[in-house]
């Protein structure tokens, strides 16, 4: 990364191509896959993708194959350090075991976010996220 990277979306993402990446989406999902392609809107093409569901110290993976992700849903794209990945202190469990508790947790979190944004909207004049004109 010592060379002068041109200040473009391409310059920022070209190093991640063919690498294992974590994509965090606006709805809170975490997808892990190999980045194959992207464009100026941060639309992404991931191969061998799986959704990783985290719950406390446990996680479960759900395979979903090839994904094209529309850029407006992307929060961040992280390059996964393959060495650091082995040292992560989380335990993998089968999906069926994790899923019910995960769904409850996700619903609870979603409700809390909705309530929070409602209070901020009514009480403090914050605008609501995800509206028209938010994406580009």
């Amino acid at each position: 990364m010592e060379s002068l990277i041109p200040f473009t979306t391409s310059g920022a993402l070209v190093d991640c191509v063919d690498k294992k990446v974590l994509v965090v989406l606006r709805d809170g999902r975490k997808l892990i896959g190999v980045l194959r392609s992207y464009d100026q809107f941060a639309n992404l093409v991931l191969e061998n993708t799986f959704e990783r569901k985290h719950l406390a110290r446990y996680y479960a993976d759900q395979g979903i194959g090839v994904m094209i992700i529309r850029g407006e849903n992307v929060v961040l794209l992280g390059e996964i350090d393959l060495d650091a990945e082995d040292e992560v202190p989380l335990e993998q469990v089968p999906l069926e075991q994790l899923d019910p508790a995960y769904k409850r947790e996700a619903e609870f979190r979603k409700k809390r976010e909705t309530d929070k944004s409602q209070v901020l909207f009514e009480g403090l004049g914050f605008s609501k996220e995800g509206g028209e004109g938010d994406g580009y």
């Binding site: 920022a12 992307v74 990945e85």
Partner: protein, 94 residues
């Protein structure tokens, strides 16, 4: 374009980006683009235990549309220069 130019001068500085989903990431600013998408290296997530998915991530690309704040080192900012540039910019606009 003004803030884009400001970020271009801040490359290799350590900044903290607060996202709209309340995630706070500290890292070295490596790149920025016209949409104010940010590329950070050597990241450190605040409250890392609340975001276990980030544990194995060292570098990341953050989409500009999800940024709430970018905290900059005060020493890296020339506020006088910025003020002058702002006035010049607004003077140019019709």
């Amino acid at each position: 374009m003004l803030i884009f130019s400001v970020f271009k001068t801040l490359t290799d500085q350590t900044v903290t980006v607060e996202l709209k989903n309340d995630l706070c990431i500290t890292g070295v600013l490596k790149s920025v683009d016209q949409y104010l998408n940010i590329r950070l290296d050597a990241i450190k997530v605040q409250n890392a235990d609340q975001h276990p998915h980030m544990m194995a991530v060292r570098n990341c690309f953050i989409r500009g549309s999800v940024v709430r704040y970018v905290q900059l080192p005060a020493s890296a900012m020339d506020t006088q220069l910025l003020e002058d540039a702002t006035r010049r910019e607004s003077g140019k606009k019709i």
